[in-house]
Symmetry: C2
Subunit: 278 residues, 2 copies
Amino acid sequence: MADFWVTEAMNGFGMTVQVEAELCRRQSKYQKIELYQTKKLGRLLLLDGIIQLTDFDEFAYHEMLANLPMFAHDNPRRALVIGGGDGGVLRELGRHPELETIDICEIDEEVINVAREFLPEISCGYDDPRVRVHIADGSEFVKDKPESYDVIIVDSTDPGGPGAPLFGEAFYRDMKRALRPGGVIATQAESPYLLPEIVARLNAVSKRIFRSTGYASIMVPTYPTGMIGACVAGDREDVRIPARPIPPELARQLRYYNTELHRAAFTTPNFVTRLLNA
Amino acid sequence: MADFWVTEAMNGFGMTVQVEAELCRRQSKYQKIELYQTKKLGRLLLLDGIIQLTDFDEFAYHEMLANLPMFAHDNPRRALVIGGGDGGVLRELGRHPELETIDICEIDEEVINVAREFLPEISCGYDDPRVRVHIADGSEFVKDKPESYDVIIVDSTDPGGPGAPLFGEAFYRDMKRALRPGGVIATQAESPYLLPEIVARLNAVSKRIFRSTGYASIMVPTYPTGMIGACVAGDREDVRIPARPIPPELARQLRYYNTELHRAAFTTPNFVTRLLNA
């Protein structure tokens, strides 16, 4: 197959990735799943045409989405991942021996199947014996889990797809009820360059519900605008400040997250700060 | 003219921007200059096919490249811009009443002409009466300017084009001689995701020559990888820490730079820190 380019475009600009071969194309009950071998970036996963990850830069997103809430908490024992069917967040959580249970609630089993078949270095997160898989709608799943988790991570698609309920205020209130005292959430919170109204709304919702909220920037080259945010929130004094040091054996494995960057990621450009205070 | 897309690609991925009309295409003595009206991002300037700026996000790059060295210095009076023919860095320097002179040394007069004709909101930087324009090779210009500047800013193209001499160690040593005591430089220092070897080399060169050096990340969506770095250096205790507060009238004009972000921008992901310490 000759080289070609896969492009994700929105609002007049986009990302384009050179690919060598299509490895998989499936229509699941929820979305179109595409997987490509790229020329320079390893493998590329798209859902409904939206770039989910490449081998090249997935570490940035997965490390931050997992470790920001894990280190905002002083003693996390039970974690829940909503979405994140590829397994990348699970892999990062698996590096934490302090976790006793790691639940994942993914709506689309086919995403897990594709990741297990084609993305072994990401889906290896499922191999951890602490992981329990639930195939369900995350917005329903959290409703009957009162005081069950220390950390909830929402690794969702954009608001347009099957992840739409994960961007509503009701879901944030349900997550709060599913947290144990002092629990922390982290959610995929879009880019202020691309979707400023969503960044502002998620932050406003979180501020109404949680004692402390912050928006962290993560530099991910293959996402449109080259970055994405995490909304981190909890009933703690300040989720923007790590509650504990990184164990040295974990620090050696990390390519992106560190303690200083935890604080720095929440320091926003003025135009973002104005959105968050609106 | 029907809508079409302009793409800058390198190393297997790239940025693509939807454009409505080509406004200008000129071959200067040094490079191909193209200017487009885009669908959503205002105007787009390319030099030899490489995206230089869009109206949408140029504030992020220009504010940081100008204000990082300006606030790393406690009392800047004389500034020099090398490259930056579009005028964006000049415009940001013009917001500083403490500057007495603002020199710019641009090799390609045609870039200035195109900017003045088609990018009035950027090239307005030239209207400041403190600005003096020198059409010359910046690497030659600094050689006979001993102890002349408090701040030198290098807003260059990539190492492949006419800006190539601006990435060499000799040029950094010449800049050091052109600085007055306590002077600070800031240079366009590429992306560690895209050109890690250049990030590492510029940082190593700066460390050999200056007392203090730092690499700051700037989130610029339309640059490949969505970010770019500034190498900031000087014979000061620590250029990563602002030496003075932002005057309130300036702070109100800024959309990106702030005092906390100055420090935070120098806090790097682990893979970048390892490059800088290599």
